[in-house]
């Protein structure tokens, strides 16, 4: 080593460090992405859930997975629990070869047309099919084929405290005008009357409001919401937002009951899923109604929502995945019941289960189950998330920026019609 080299090479240690770091990083990288269908000779199926807010749900889905391996020792279920924007994350994962084998979601026609989900008709016996809620099955079918198994039926409820209604001398609202009045009566300096979410009900009531006016969105492949009834129903939301009775800026959104249980709002539009948590906080003072009719020509309404299980058609083990879903969501009544009423409350999509559980016989859940079957409304699989986004923008403009409702709705309708044309092409 000559003198010059010595002068210029004092840092070989640094470079060795760099190489070390690099090798370490590469090793970590490789170990992080090693994926294989089989682990210890067991076939691994990946199952995705969105993050349920209720305590115990995380442990429950892992328990179900273990139970399946107990019955089918050659299959391992790897559960992935996704907090945050589940819909986007799932849709993106389905585009890749390494997406989940089975997952929960709401079925859309676009998924079927893109060949992302496998048909599941052969998993149902005629007796099963008769036991499942026919409307759920219809919503989970495209062109006569079933692509999804309904796991839980969700619905919205307007929660209130009976004592507060009594003190204010009011009855549970049956029309929008009564709701507005109740919200006003129950608003105090330290408490708002009503909580509809941090955007003032725009996303929570986007569909519920027009339904409460007895109009709909997409019927027989036609966009039908561009009418005066939709306009009136959205204007009612404007009125609510301007009344100063709505709670906004809460830490959690409308689907979490904290705002109501902590007393920040006197009434909250939330879901049946939150009933156990709310009942624990409020006890028998708790009352609930579905969303009131817009006016005499309207009708009380709630949404028929929930989650369905599907099989990714682009994975190598579709048959095994189908068998697993059949076991979990068609044959295993114990799991289905546990999932429906063990944590949050959901209506079981199977009649035989819905009537068998005493938990749903309590006053509020019993009322909810009855209302759901009478007044529950849902959007068809053809309704796309672009359409929701178009309509949401319009309602934002109406509620937040004070744009004329009729023009905004007309413009949303023309955007939705264009989307529909693209889909039906």
């Amino acid at each position: 080593m000559n003198s010059q080299e010595k002068t210029y090479l004092p840092n070989s240690r640094t470079r060795r460090d760099i190489i070390k770091t690099f090798t370490f990083a590469c090793g970590a990288l490789l170990s992080g992405c090693a994926s294989s269908d089989y682990v210890n000779g067991k076939l691994v199926l990946t199952q995705w859930y969105h993050q349920y807010g209720e305590k115990g749900t995380f442990q429950a889905v892992h328990r179900y997975a273990r139970e399946y391996t107990k019955v089918n020792p050659h299959i391992l279920i790897k559960v992935v629990w996704i907090p945050g924007d589940y819909g986007t994350k799932l849709a993106t994962a389905l585009l890749t070869p390494d997406g989940p084998d089975v997952f929960e979601n709401q079925l859309s026609q676009a998924m079927v047309e893109a060949g992302q989900v496998a048909p599941l008709d052969d998993l149902f016996t005629p007796a099963d099919l008769a036991d499942f809620n026919a409307r759920d099955t219809a919503l989970n079918s495209v062109n006569g084929k079933i692509y999804a198994i309904k796991m839980i039926d969700d619905m919205g409820l307007l929660y209130y405290r009976k004592s507060q209604f009594k003190a204010a001398g009011i009855q549970p609202p049956t029309t929008m005008a009564e709701l507005l009045n109740a919200a006003k009566m129950l608003t105090t300096s330290s408490r708002k009357g009503l909580y509809l979410g941090n955007d003032g009900g725009i996303s929570a009531l986007l569909n519920v409001l027009p339904w409460s006016a007895n109009t709909d969105f997409l019927v027989d492949n036609r966009i039908v919401f561009n009418n005066p009834r939709t306009v009136t129903s959205y204007q009612a939301l404007v009125q609510l937002n301007r009344s100063g009775t709505l709670l906004m800026g809460a830490p959690t959104d409308w689907w979490d009951p904290s705002a109501f249980t902590q007393g920040a709002a006197a009434m909250q539009w939330c879901g049946l899923w939150a009933y156990p948590a709310i009942y624990k906080a409020v006890q028998d003072d708790l009352g609930a109604v579905i969303w009131p009719a817009l006016d005499a020509a309207g009708s009380p309404v709630t949404f028929l929502g929930g989650w369905s299980a599907m099989v990714n058609a682009n994975r190598p083990h579709v048959e095994e995945a189908k068998r697993f879903l059949q076991w979990q969501w068609i044959q295993n009544r114990k799991i289905q019941l546990d999932w429906c009423v063990g944590y949050g409350f959901h209506v079981p999509p199977r009649h035989s289960l819905a009537v068998s559980t005493p938990k749903l016989q309590q006053p509020v859940p019993a009322y909810a189950v009855e209302m759901l079957s009478k007044y529950g409304k849902a959007l068809p699989p053809l309704w796309s998330s672009s359409m929701t986004s178009d309509l949401t923008s319009s309602l934002t403009n109406i509620v937040k920026l004070g744009h004329p409702a009729d023009q905004e709705i007309a413009s949303a309708a023309s955007s939705c019609r264009r989307e529909l044309r693209r889909e039906l092409e």
């Binding site: 990083a25 970590a28 990288l29 993050q51 993106t92 994962a93 390494d98 830490p251």
Partner: protein, 280 residues
């Protein structure tokens, strides 16, 4: 310093006053993170403002790392791997290319440099849809290498390294030539060790930038196993329920490493910014 007039003194006092007020404002968010991270949810949401918890709830951090649904460890680990790999490889690739463009005569030199400048014009964030499409096609979605790969190549840092090596003293290389070293030997044994300052400056900036990026990891890392700290934080805002104390503890954990890096490496970061800002 020359003596100041009364007017100048007043002006200076006013300037100090404004700077102090702004300092408080700039430090406020840090204080808020710390305050909330050490409180219970009830204390945070209490209408009675408390400037600092009398009994700091340090156990919030234990709770955060124990929470299996919060993915804090995973996020920290991924962010560290991603930022370190990007730091090392981006510096290596860019300095190699920058060195060659500045010092190795080639017929292709001009056209290669031209195409580097051309890619500088393309705003990185708007290529995310097609880049995602490609990533999905080659199976890079939900993997760490998928999150890392596009960040390894930066036209801007190639450009900066070229500028740096244009002004690099030739004596060092000449000494290497005398010793019979080829370009590879000169670069690896002489040039690289003597570029430590610029490697540090641009490297730290690359590390900070990678640690803090949001859009690309959000798009590519769908599965929690490939989330970065930033995505973990974001899910606290879009998730189903919110545990406020855990959320702020997470924010503190995510912010702290970089604040430490900034405090200890400030000289390099400032040099890096000056270098890249001045030469743009």
């Amino acid at each position: 310093m020359r003596a100041r007039t009364l007017g100048q003194k007043l002006q200076l006092a006013l300037r100090y006053a404004i700077l102090c007020a702004l300092s408080i404002l700039f430090l406020l968010p840090f204080y808020l993170i710390l305050r909330n991270a050490l409180m219970t949810d009830a204390q945070i949401t209490s209408p009675h403002w408390q400037w600092f918890p009398l009994q700091p709830h340090w156990e919030n951090f234990r709770e955060l790392f124990a929470d299996k649904t919060a993915f804090m460890w995973v996020g920290l680990r991924n962010s560290a791997i991603i930022a370190t790999t990007t730091l090392v490889l981006q510096m290596l690739f860019s300095s190699m290319a920058g060195y060659a463009l500045a010092r190795i005569p080639s017929r292709a030199s001009r056209s290669v440099f031209g195409s580097v400048l051309l890619t500088l014009m393309i705003p990185g964030a708007v290529t995310f849809v097609p880049t995602f499409a490609m990533m999905a096609w080659v199976g890079g979605v939900n993997t760490l290498w998928g999150v890392i790969a596009p960040g390894l190549f930066s036209a801007f840092s190639i450009f900066l390294f070229r500028q740096f090596y244009l002004g690099f003293p030739t004596e060092i290389e000449e000494a290497g030539m005398m010793d019979g070293l080829g370009y590879a030997g000169i670069y690896w044994r002489l040039v690289l060790p003597n570029s430590r300052a610029v490697l540090m400056s641009l490297g730290v900036l690359a590390f900070v930038g990678t640690w803090n990026t949001f859009l690309w990891p959000l798009v590519v890392g769908q599965n929690p196993s490939s989330w970065t700290v930033q995505i973990v934080l974001s899910t606290f805002l879009t998730g189903q329920t919110v545990q406020l104390h855990e959320l702020f503890a997470a924010a503190l954990v995510a912010v702290l490493p970089l604040v430490v890096v900034f405090l200890f490496m400030q000289r390099y970061i400032v040099e890096g910014i000056t270098f890249s800002g001045g030469k743009e």
